[in-house]
């Protein structure tokens, strides 16, 4: 009996320890080596296939309604013949101080115990606040309920819900893959191993430019890469604390003008 009380007391005490509420189970992190990425866009299709992203057609593309959760941005510097092109894959940066989370009136977007910025489709009422606040322009809105002509709908991934009109969505770091790996690890009574989880983009990448893992695990590949001297984060000065780490591309004389 006293053991039980002690456990309860210990538990209550632990709540008061500093950092309890900000402690994470995992800190899922993506590292993208821009020196490996060649901009081939295999990851973009992988994301469409894995996450049931609808195809909106030419007219809606022209209105910036395309759904790609992951896009390859390209930047061109200089004029012919001294042209330099740079690519960067941009998806939800899973910010630890996410601007989008502060704005949602219905808590449809919040931070979970894995350090992920998640979106609850059933709560979303489509105020568009999060997309307006987002620093990285990665949120996508369902202006309509998109249909897949038969039998294309047979391809839809049953692990990912199909969204309807009026709902905001974005990259989840393939949370369904994270969940299933965690479930499996739990069933086996082991912790999730580095490399057990590969989001669709990382899995498909022909050059192997996208790494994924737990930053809290010091042995993980992302923890090692995160110490790279080439490391930087996108628009870091805005202090959203993104969970995607980029490794600088090696090119030119290094004095790029960022025009």
């Amino acid at each position: 009996m006293s053991g039980f009380l002690e456990r309860i007391a210990g538990k209550l005490k632990s709540y008061r320890e500093p950092g309890y509420y900000t402690k994470l189970d995992h800190k899922w992190t993506m590292v993208i080596d821009l020196d490996k990425c060649n901009g081939c866009e295999a990851c973009v299709v992988a994301c469409y296939a894995e996450n049931n992203l609808p195809v909106v057609g030419k007219e809606d593309c022209a209105k910036s309604r395309a759904f790609s959760w992951l896009r390859i941005e390209r930047y061109v510097e200089g004029e012919y013949p001294d042209v330099k092109v740079k690519f960067i894959p941009v998806m939800c940066q899973q910010c630890m101080k996410a601007p989008c989370e502060t704005g949602c009136p219905v808590y449809a977007t919040y931070h979970n115990q894995d350090g992920l910025n998640v979106q609850v489709y059933n709560r979303c009422v489509g105020t568009f606040t999060c997309a307006t606040y987002c620093t990285y322009d990665v949120r996508r809105f369902n202006w309509f309920t998109y249909k897949w002509p038969k039998p294309l709908e047979a391809q839809l991934n049953p692990d990912v819900s199909v969204r309807e009109m009026g709902v905001m969505e974005k990259c989840t770091f393939c949370i369904q893959r994270i969940r299933s790996a965690k479930d499996k690890a739990k069933d086996e009574g082991k912790p999730v191993k580095d490399g057990d989880i590969k989001p669709a983009c990382s899995q498909s990448c022909p050059t192997g430019a996208i790494y994924f893992g737990d930053l809290q695990d010091p042995e993980s590949i992302v923890a090692k890469l995160a110490k790279s001297p080439r490391r930087y984060r996108l628009l870091e000065e805005l202090n959203a604390d993104p969970s995607v780490i980029y490794l600088k591309r090696v090119m030119g004389d290094g004095t790029t003008s960022h025009e």
Binding site: A49, K58, R71, M251
Partner: protein, 747 residues
């Protein structure tokens, strides 16, 4: 348990299920019915995915795949991490093959033409009737002693299915079985045959090279085996060793060029001269490893003479030559833009000579020759080409034409008058799964399965300097009333009777494939090692997605005889410079390749890697050229060659020579389903009808064009806003020197 082990474990279940498909026991997609739990199909556990190891057939590269199947439906295709070709990655087009399987515009039943040819009016018939009609036609040919007037035209097939079609044709009495495709790289194969004695594409060891000199090879997106090369590229840049350098020579900056450290925009048609001038400089400076034999041949190509023709300074040629020869190992590769001319093989041979002179052949990080170790590789026949078929059709030597996979009506210039020639063929049968432009001309359509429903095998060419044989197994049951391509031929052989029936005795293609592998197994000792007989080997093969052996060390020497194919000057272009001021570069685009990807919605909506344009065709024009013509982005222009014109909107592209315009191939379909039809323009239409006379490869870069405002093109829709960073430091860089100083990351 590692993910890999997990997949293998699941694969064991897959073997039994694979056998289930043969017996036709596996349920079709459940549709309205619930899954029967009482006696469930063995591979269906609701909510749990089954993975089948197979191989991709979207292009010729032959990547290994893992198909994720849930409740009998294919959900996703991923690269097989164990497969030596793609090592886990898979390109955009390969991943989209699931949309080919479930495409709403597939041909769902055998069809018989009702209206006039090309009208698209068909009536649905049964398989019995379809096979009977075709067999009746073939029997009639035979009875009139016209068996040789049967022509078969397919996409480049390899392995067992190729053998079956070959057997069928020869047993029937026809010697006219030909492969046709737009990017067969016959020039490269011919160059390799005449210089190194093997008509195959060698393995280019990009992974281990330290200086990659690419002559227009867009290996990141479309060239030969993009996933394999991209994987190598990633390791070349950030692998264990020192970072390799990439230099790209091409008139239009491709995706690969965009990743290069240096871009050399040589004038179109002069790449071969540039390669030879580099080789000559290496010899002259005494840096050659094999110089003596080449001094005489190369002395005609002095850097200072060639410089003005190529529009590359002599100093730059020399600098490249020195760096290429001094950096060890280095590698030069000949891509489409050097070999798409009328003398296209000259470019490929010049690059082979360059590699020979620098000593790059047969070494790690260089050119590693492949051999057809398993005997299943693609058989390249330089004599059989689309031009010989058109000539035969015009001479009434084609009574019946069977087409599969190839779409010559779309991929042959209008100047070839292919449609006119086709109208002289009394009977055309297509085994296509989609109503493409060629299938739309058919009198009878017997729709074949897509690769996710069918059996097959693949012997990747180019290989990876190791023997590789992949297996293709059905991941799902047939979605529609279609048949395995092999089964169509087998049933046809039975219906035709005679030699064909006695030669092809297998009950179905799955059995034919298995016995063909049994033969392969008995020939190959390495396959037998570590297995308990053929059945055990076969099960393991189905589980792993194929069989691959250890690398073979091969070498070759480029023979000086090859120099006879070199031509002194630059390539010829149709159209007088005064009237037609711009070179036209039609190029293979990441998503559409030769047009085959245009019916898949994911690929239509995939932004082009260089321009971010979606759902259409565009004309790439240098901003300076556009300014001088008074054009701005999005303006619709006519692109006019001496052979016709197309219209499309302008995209201002700084990565193209001011005297060149480029148009992607792939759109402009008149058929091919709702996503492709009536969209964009097809640049092949306005090309002259030309090929390299020795190899038969189409000469895509062989005309000049003029550009005038007007035409009825569609609007330009692109996904990007600005291409400028505007000081935001989005893609940050470090210089190579700074990188060297940095501590190497541990990966």
């Amino acid at each position: 348990m590692k993910r890999r082990d997990f997949l293998k474990f699941i694969g064991i279940g897959g073997v039994g299920a694979g056998a289930g498909f043969v017996l036709g026991k596996v349920s079709k997609p459940p549709g309205a019915k619930l899954i029967p739990y009482l006696i469930p199909p063995e591979d269906i556990v609701p909510g749990v995915a089954t993975w089948y190891a197979s191989a991709c057939t979207q292009c010729g590269a032959g990547c290994g795949t893992l198909v994720r199947v849930m409740e009998g439906r294919a959900k996703k295709i991923e690269g097989n991490p164990d497969h030596p070709v793609n090592r886990g990655g898979l390109c955009a087009m390969g991943q989209s093959s699931v949309q080919a399987l479930y495409n709403p515009d597939r041909i769902t039943k055998p069809l018989k033409r009702k209206g006039p040819r090309g009208s698209g009016e068909y009536t649905e018939i049964t398989w019995d009737e379809a096979l009977k009609t075709l067999a009746g036609n073939l029997t009639e040919l035979k009875s009139k002693n016209d068996a040789d007037k049967l022509h078969l035209l397919t996409q480049p097939l390899s392995g067992t299915i190729d053998k079956l079609v070959r057997d069928f044709a020869s047993a029937f009495g026809s010697s006219n079985y030909a492969h046709y495709g737009l990017f067969q790289r016959k020039n490269l194969a011919f160059a390799n045959l005449s210089t190194m004695g093997s008509a195959s594409v060698p393995h280019y060891d990009i992974e281990n090279t330290k200086y990659l000199l690419s002559f227009g090879a867009d290996f990141s997106s479309t060239w030969v085996s993009p996933v394999n090369y991209s994987n190598g590229y990633g390791k070349m840049r950030q692998g264990a060793g020192e970072r390799g350098k990439l230099v790209q020579v091409e008139p239009r900056l491709s995706l690969t060029g965009a990743n290069a450290d240096e871009w050399v925009p040589a004038k179109p048609g002069t790449e071969a001269l540039l390669a030879l001038a580099i080789a000559n400089t290496i010899v002259e400076k005494g840096l050659a490893r094999d110089g003596a034999a080449w001094r005489g041949v190369l002395s005609r190509y002095k850097a200072k003479d060639v410089a003005s023709i190529c529009d590359v300074s002599a100093e730059r040629i020399e600098a490249i030559a020195v760096e290429f020869a001094r950096t060890r190992p280095s590698l030069a590769i000949a891509g489409d833009s050097v070999s798409s001319y009328e003398n296209g093989i000259a470019g490929a041979i010049a690059v082979n000579i360059l590699n020979q002179v620098a000593g790059n052949i047969g070494i790690a990080g260089g050119v590693m020759p492949n051999g057809d170790d398993l005997g299943g590789g693609k058989k390249i026949d330089f004599g059989r080409r689309i031009s010989t078929l058109i000539a035969a059709m015009n001479a009434d030597k084609v009574k019946t034409l069977i087409v599969y996979g190839a779409n010559p009506v779309f991929t042959t210039p209008k100047a070839a008058k292919l449609e006119e020639a086709l109208s002289k063929v009394p009977f055309i049968a297509s085994f296509g799964s989609f109503m493409d432009e060629t299938t739309a001309q058919a009198d009878l359509i017997l729709p074949a399965h897509t690769s996710l429903e069918d059996w097959g095998d693949d012997f990747p060419d180019p290989g990876v300097a190791a023997p590789v044989a992949s297996i293709i197994q059905p991941a799902v049951g047939p979605v529609f009333d279609t048949k395995s391509l092999g089964d169509i031929f087998i049933e046809l052989a039975k219906a035709v009777g005679g030699n064909a029936a006695s030669k092809i005795t297998a009950p179905n293609f799955a059995e034919y494939l298995k016995s063909s592998w049994k033969e392969l197994y008995s020939r190959n000792r390495e396959m037998a090692a570590g297995t308990l007989g053929f059945e055990d080997f076969w099960n393991k093969t189905l589980q792993n997605g194929g069989w691959w052996g250890p690398p073979r060390k091969r070498t070759a020497t480029v023979s000086a005889r090859a120099s006879e194919h070199l031509t002194g000057g630059p390539a010829r272009f149709e159209g007088e410079e005064g009237q037609y001021p711009f070179y036209l570069i039609p190029y293979a685009q990441t998503a559409y390749l030769d047009g085959r990807g245009a019916n898949l919605p994911w690929l239509q909506e995939l932004p082009d890697p260089m321009t971010s344009v979606v759902w259409g065709t565009w004309v790439e024009v240098n901003p300076k050229t556009a300014a001088s013509l008074g054009l701005k982005e999005g303006d619709v222009v006519n692109v006019e060659s001496p052979y016709g014109k197309i219209s499309a909107p302008v995209y201002l592209y700084p990565g193209i020579r001011p005297d060149t315009v480029a148009v992607p191939i792939g759109q402009g379909h008149s058929h091919y389903g709702r996503y492709a039809k009536g969209r964009g323009a097809n640049p092949i239409e306005i090309l002259p009808y030309k090929e390299d006379p020795r190899s038969g490869e189409a000469a895509l870069n062989s005309t000049r064009v003029r550009i005038t405002r007007g035409g009825s093109g569609e609007r330009l829709v692109k996904m990007e806003g600005s291409t400028k960073e505007l000081g935001r430091g989005i893609v940050q860089t470090v210089s190579p020197a700074e990188f060297k100083r940095m501590k190497k990351e541990v990966v």
